[in-house]
Symmetry: C2
């Protein structure tokens, strides 16, 4: 094991609930214009449509919300209401980072024995800002922010860091982004589910058939998992 | 010389004129609401104010333009007009890439002898899309997209790639982002000015005092500059 990579949002810190919270505020704000159920559906459609052009992250979220507001009111939404969307959306770019239980201790311990990486997808500026606000940056030797976490992206990481599949492990909350593509290219993955999963990140049960990965209840359990390989100074690849 | 890094926008391909073009269209569109000179000034102010939260790039540009429209019309701008801002702004995310004169030949030659890198700042998704659309991606061994190109960012690159300052050279059109911070940390920089420079990237002449770097008229001249070190297979650090 040469490199342990951690997803960031909802693996190291709470993220999705902030989006849910902002969405709730905006839906409430627009409730006199449109039915929340329709708003929710159309907003998701706009996000998916815009993904190819705008990518992930807060700015993309704000732009999709503005477009949905305009569409559902046939352009009758006012400039001031759109400014409110931007102002509420801006919270997504500077909410206080709540580090998940056990993460700090796990990083403290593992960083003494392994090279750690943050490997996250999304908006560069947005993600860098969250890493800075989290105060966890110093535990990571590498930070890689990619636009999409698919097999190709993981293969590029292996190549860039000159790693064999057996030398890399990925830890994250998303089966779609952190587990399945990793397992498909022959690397190991650890799944730590989070209470809320964005619709776009959900996968059907049948996609998990014949896939081998480890699921933990919380980051804290990583210590037990890696325990047998600590503290020997020279670690080998068959640590679990 | 181990690594030659190229800036992307207005170094490898035309970029700023697309922004100027979109700005002109939007200013014209809003001409019945507001004076273009005031609009231009307030838009720049909005961009600077938002840089800390939204970063660089097209999405940030669109959001700042929307805010400026709302501000200058006291919220009277309509939803449909804002949709027009988004639609015109979206062009920034998929305009056809016009590779600058000589760039292709230079990359073709240099990539046979050196490791090349794209080193650009801005929005990750936006920049990755431009690299893909340019068709130049295969010349580059590395792509690094950073949120700001300052001394700290360049020092991180040297550290990450395990390079001495003498082993790295930066080529770009921006004195502020591609030349000054690079020279300050003891690396070499080549400046290839571009016809249009965004206000934010301009530097005062006195900042150039006592700074040593090479200025070329076009990318094509890089071939002459590097000529003496080609084609020997083993290149040394004193190639110019």
């Amino acid at each position: 094991m040469k490199l342990i990579a951690f997803d960031a949002d909802d693996t190291l810190w709470v993220n999705e609930p902030n989006y849910v919270n902002v969405k709730d505020k905006l839906f409430e704000m627009m409730a006199h214009h449109v039915d929340p159920v329709i708003l929710s559906q159309r907003f998701y459609d706009a996000q998916m449509r815009n993904l190819r052009v705008f990518g992930y992250g807060a700015k993309s979220f704000i732009l999709s919300m503005i477009e949905t507001g305009i569409e559902l009111t046939n352009g009758a939404i006012t400039g001031s209401e759109i400014q409110q969307i931007i102002d509420v959306g801006r919270e997504l770019l500077d909410f206080p980072i709540e580090v998940l239980d056990g993460v700090q201790e796990v990083l403290e311990t593992l960083s003494n024995h392994f090279d750690l990486m943050v490997l996250t997808k999304g908006d560069l500026f947005d993600q860098e800002s969250k890493i800075a606000r989290s105060g966890l940056g110093h535990y990571f030797k590498h930070v890689e922010i990619v636009s999409e976490k698919n097999e190709q992206a993981y293969l590029s990481i292996l190549k860039k860091y000159n790693l064999q599949p057996s030398e890399f492990i990925m830890i994250g909350n998303s089966l779609k982004s952190d587990v399945l593509p990793v397992v498909h290219i022959g690397c190991r993955a650890i799944h730590i589910p989070f209470s809320v999963t964005w619709e776009h990140e959900q996968v059907a049960d049948e996609q998990l058939l014949d896939k081998s990965f480890t699921t933990l209840e919380s980051a804290r359990e990583l210590l037990t998992l890696f325990e047998s390989s600590l503290p020997p100074v020279i670690l080998n690849k068959s640590f679990y």
